[in-house]
């Protein structure tokens, strides 16, 4: 097993010369469940996209499973869950078809699906509680169920690392619980998780470490911040207003 699942050293990202991330370094080891927290526009989504190679680094380097990202080819070890399902041009696709595309990384593009592939798809659907919806078009699912379908797609590839971009944004609480359950199962099986979140909700007990991104740099790396910060817990912001000193402590304002 790899010593380090993800390593970022002095990573920087710029969109059209506008810096989004500066001098970001961290290392994720097997079994960790790391939440990347931060306000909208802080660069937290860019951070995971850079880790996956979807956004090029302008400086620094990313290492995946002890291999430099440029030379990394074992993509089946990573399961990616994007923010939302691809819109598509209106051609229907069943939940099972979407989830089955999660097997491609493992079996290659020319080999037809075999028994192991079908079992993995069925298992992934069961893990997120969508077995009964397997034959339904994905557009008929609720937002939360679509999100679960995307998690099933990532799980179907039997990855070692799950990377999730705001998996619970705008998701109903039933789906959030089903999602937390699926993630708990994955972590119990020895999986590593890197997830971007605006609020942790029912995921909070699973998180072993938090990276707080603020203005393109990592402002905090360690335990989940105690005051829970901006919207980090469900209902939190409705109970009492954020005190100014609370946020300055959390974000480490200079």
């Amino acid at each position: 097993m790899a010593d380090s699942i993800v390593t970022v050293e002095y990573g920087a990202v710029a969109y059209d010369d506008r810096p989004v991330l500066r001098d970001v370094s961290f290392r994720i080891t097997p079994g960790e469940v790391v939440a990347v927290l931060g306000a909208n526009g802080s660069g937290k989504s860019t951070l995971v996209r850079a880790v996956l190679g979807l956004v090029p680094l302008s400086a620094g380097r990313v290492t995946l499973f002890d291999t430099p990202q440029r030379r990394f080819r074992q993509w089946w070890r990573i399961g990616y869950v994007p923010q939302r399902i691809g819109a598509g041009g209106g051609v229907p696709a069943t939940v099972a078809e979407v989830v089955a595309s999660g097997r491609l990384a493992r079996r290659g593009i020319l080999r037809p699906a075999g028994g192991a592939d079908r079992r993995a798809v069925a298992e992934a659907l069961r893990a997120v509680g969508l077995t009964e919806r397997a034959g339904d078009p994905v557009v008929t699912l609720s937002g939360g169920q679509q999100q679960r379908a995307l998690i099933a797609r990532a799980l179907a590839g039997q990855p070692e690392l799950l990377v999730l971009d705001e998996p619970t944004a705008g998701v109903d609480s039933a789906s959030q619980d089903a999602f937390a359950e699926a993630l708990r199962g994955f972590v119990a099986g020895g999986g590593t998780v890197l997830l971007v979140a605006h609020e942790l909700g029912p995921l909070a007990p699973l998180i072993t470490r938090a990276l707080v991104v603020h203005r393109g740099t990592i402002a905090h790396d360690g335990a989940v911040p105690e005051p829970a910060g901006h919207h980090a817990a469900p209902g939190h912001e409705h109970v009492h207003p954020h005190a100014p000193d609370e946020s300055s402590g959390l974000w480490g304002r200079p």
Partner: protein
């Protein structure tokens, strides 16, 4: 059926059936990535290839394949960059393609307007056995690629970013799709003509997605519909003595309208039936309504495409 006692009618039928089967198999990926009109664009450019072929006295079909493949690759590279100027670049390419084609065909002298019309609107009945062989071989290659690579092509069309993180050769698959689009456009120009090619790629898919629930089901249904429209089109054109390509396209659009009306009626009936029965069976009717909601918006674009295709006439 005395119509098919002539060899040229048999060849027309075989060509139409092969293209009717192949065009939707490719078209479904184009529809899924919202590029329904790309076939039109590539068709415009293919006309320049035809012109080059006529001018140099080489096979116009072969030159059209080459020129439109280069154009399709250029379009794909522009799309990949995602630049805003890509839209204008596409317009330049399309109109440059058709203007260049008309000029070059004119320059080639002897074979003039009748020839141009044959490529713009198709002339399957003048297909030689050699032409037919080329059409069948290329169509079988395209069809095989579309069916064998279906999971991968589905993945890149459905969610390109996810496909990239899955380590799929996204760029090579995109270029394959671009080149097969060019090939399909060029072989279809013999049947329905360059200006109507997109209709065969898009309309059967638009019809199929009204009634099917999954991607594979849509693909197979669209291929079946393409086959029916092509076969019935050849028979009807021969019987009623109408233009073959136009007849096939009109039939395909007619099937679409009938199916669209049918699903609308079924939906209305389903809603009426579901209303008094209470909340218990509400899950199934709910699915039906939601399923047809996005599909109903898609055909507007597709019909717009075939309108646009006929406009330059």
């Amino acid at each position: 059926m005395s119509l098919f006692q002539y060899d040229f009618m048999i060849r027309a039928l075989v060509g139409a059936l092969v293209i009717g089967l192949t065009a939707p198999a490719l078209g479904i990926y184009l529809v899924q990535r919202r590029m329904s009109l790309i076939g039109d664009g590539v068709g415009h450019v293919a006309l320049t290839g035809v012109g080059v072929g006529l001018l140099l006295d080489r096979s116009p079909v072969l030159m059209a394949v080459l020129v439109s493949a280069v154009a399709a690759i250029a379009i794909e590279l522009l799309r990949e960059r995602g630049r805003t100027s890509g839209d204008v670049a596409l317009a330049l390419m399309f109109y440059g393609g058709i203007a260049g084609g008309v000029m070059l065909v004119g320059l080639s002298g002897s074979r003039s307007n009748a020839n141009l019309m044959a490529y713009l609107f198709g002339s399957l009945t003048t297909t030689s056995p050699q032409d037919l062989a080329v059409i069948v071989v290329l169509a079988v290659l395209v069809l095989a690629a579309m069916l064998v690579l279906r999971p991968a092509l589905f993945a890149i069309s459905h969610d390109e970013e996810y496909a990239r993180v899955s380590g799929l050769p996204v760029r090579r698959l995109n270029l394959l799709l671009a080149v097969t689009t060019a090939v399909t456009v060029t072989i279809s120009m013999r049947a329905v003509g360059l200006l109507l090619v997109s209709a065969l790629m898009v309309v059967p898919v638009a019809t199929a997605q009204l009634v099917s629930r999954g991607f594979l089901a849509t693909m197979l249904t669209a291929m079946g519909l393409g086959l029916v429209a092509a076969g019935a089109g050849v028979w009807l054109a021969g019987t009623a003595n109408t233009a073959l390509g136009a007849t096939i396209v009109i039939l395909a659009i007619g099937i679409f309208l009938v199916v669209a009306a049918g699903t609308a009626v079924r939906r209305a009936l389903g809603r009426r039936r579901a209303a008094p029965s209470g909340p218990a069976p509400a899950v199934e009717p709910c699915d039906v309504v939601l399923e047809s909601a996005p599909a109903a918006t898609a055909p507007a674009v597709d019909l717009g495409g075939s309108d646009r295709a006929t406009a330059p006439r």
